[in-house]
Symmetry: C2
Subunit: 336 residues, 2 copies
């Protein structure tokens, strides 16, 4: 059966299965004019939304439905994580051209439901419609956080230590390997591929950081440290000094960069879609936070630099020399 | 200046102006990983979302930016109205092809901000990105309603009176006139054009109905009574009998149908995008509700039929004969 025979409502029935993974607080999911749910008292509501268009954000013949769905919702969950929130309900809209198979669509929803289910996130609604040419996905996620624990981009102070909650650059390397279609490297660097295809949103980590105290600002690393830290320093009216020897790089990425003749630090700073958290911490609280984090997650957080009063971002190289990081160049509307 | 020169962040700064029209409860709007706001205690949160794609939902050369933005947000506000809710925060995502001018985009946001502002709805976030070919708009609206006052599609009981909160079919006639590009008729039937281009979401009316008591189910008329009532009867496990002489039709629509040789009742029942509310009322409470509604709004609600235990929808004609309404045929995925 294809989508045309099944019709909009048949398709909605098909995708509705497995959408509610946590019934508590849900009054109405898919099937009415709007979804209805409750938020606990004294909680702030968080909403994030991403619009993904074929040919801009993904190439249908380069990514399977499952990975596309997984990554699309991972990016939104990561935004909630960056605010220190719990992700709660997701709303999925698809505009579907006639050339997309039902299997591909099922894959998208399976990828979304898999990751959403792991974090007790319900899919409560959305919209499904046709598209003449491009597959379009919009995801909106609603989360919540205690009002006084929400983490913003703009709260950092001079002297705060800059941390990341995981390794950098692996996702970008994974993308390179995929685009190169290099089978040998795909086998040798599976961990890099996985970092690109199955990023883990740091939701539990974000809640922990927000609740711990001492964290002054946070965001997720989606465009790359160079770009994201630039937003953070601007939002806080500050600058930053990074230490190149502190940038967390896995052995696999170091080896891959060696093979390709790339500078791993540079590569890690420019790499996007890491979906780790970038956050600043009161220097008086940083040591205790590191210890407590490691106890809670069995994993490290990495100090990579310090917030400075002078605008701009500098990197201190191993020889002690400082160089300015160029401002980020990403512009969705530039046609190269 | 064009979009490419302005860049994504320049464009976001441009559209951010005038987005917050009600600061109370807003902790963070555009500019962080997620928007943050509070809902009052004992309120249920409502979320609705619509994805609009060029070539499917609109033709860029047939609608100006202002009207496109206005209608897009009107449809979402109408969904919140249909649940008996207050609309609170909107999230606007645009995927923009290089052929769309800044003026057109400004028009879209002006249309959205105009209507949102009238109903104290903030625009708190969204996403802006590029598109290769088609302009894509996604809107998500968050609303709230007292938990015990939310109106669903599925609460109607046998014998409940079916009402609509306004006239039917005018929007469809307006669309006909626009597609015909008939200048004389455009002048003669301005009210029909307005009904199509500037539908008023019945938000205050929806809250009134939810709060009044006696209303057992509600939805908005977006696809046309034939289709929408079908959803409502199915959700309630019932059928319906409509009375053709009770279908509310304006003099202007009657005159237009006369000129075109169309049956105005049939036209009104099939017409979409009316964005009035379709709702069912306990027969014991219907008269009082009508009186109270007219007192509150200076406008009528119209009884059009009654809920029946037998499935399907019938219409009683003026001669007393009954005919079955065909089931709705709308299927986004059919290619005609």
């Amino acid at each position: 059966m294809n989508l045309e025979e099944m019709g909009e409502f048949g398709f909605i029935r098909r995708i509705s299965r497995g959408c509610i993974v946590r019934a508590e607080g849900v009054i109405k999911g898919i099937g009415d004019d709007a979804a209805v749910f409750t938020l606990e008292e004294k909680e702030a509501a968080l909403v994030t939304t991403d619009l993904l268009v074929e040919g801009i954000h993904f190439l249908r013949d380069s990514i399977c439905g499952f990975d596309l769905g997984y990554k699309a919702i991972a990016a939104n969950l990561s935004d909630i994580a960056a605010m220190g929130g719990n992700a709660r309900e997701a709303f999925i809209s698809l505009a579907i051209p006639p050339t997309v198979s039902l299997e591909y669509l099922d894959g998208i929803y399976d990828g979304m439901k898999g990751l959403a289910g792991e974090f007790s996130v319900n899919i409560l609604g959305g919209d499904t419609t046709a598209s003449k040419r491009d597959l379009v996905i919009n995801i909106a996620v609603v989360g919540s956080a205690p009002r006084d624990e929400v983490l913003f981009r703009g709260g950092a102070r001079e002297g705060d230590i800059i941390f990341v909650s995981g390794f950098l650059g692996e996702s970008r390397a994974g993308l390179h390997i995929i685009l190169d279609r290099d089978h040998d490297r795909s086998e040798a660097f599976e961990s890099l591929l996985l970092a690109h295809m199955r990023p883990r949103p740091h939701l539990r980590e974000g809640c922990f950081l927000a609740h711990h105290g001492g964290v002054t600002s946070a965001m997720d690393v989606s465009d790359g440290i160079t770009s994201d830290l630039c937003h953070m320093t601007k939002a806080s009216g500050l600058g930053a000094l990074l230490d190149s020897s502190y940038i967390p790089i896995t052995d696999a990425l170091r080896k891959y960069c060696g093979l390709c003749g790339l500078d791993p630090v540079e590569f890690a700073l420019q790499g996007g879609e890491d979906y780790v958290l970038l956050f600043t911490v009161d220097p008086q609280r940083a040591d205790q936070l590191s210890v407590d984090f490691e106890k809670a997650f069995g994993a490290q957080i990495f100090p990579i630099g310090v917030m400075k009063s002078r605008e701009g971002i500098e990197v201190r190289e191993e020889d002690g020399m400082r160089r300015a990081l160029p401002p980020p160049g990403w512009n969705h509307f530039r046609q190269d």
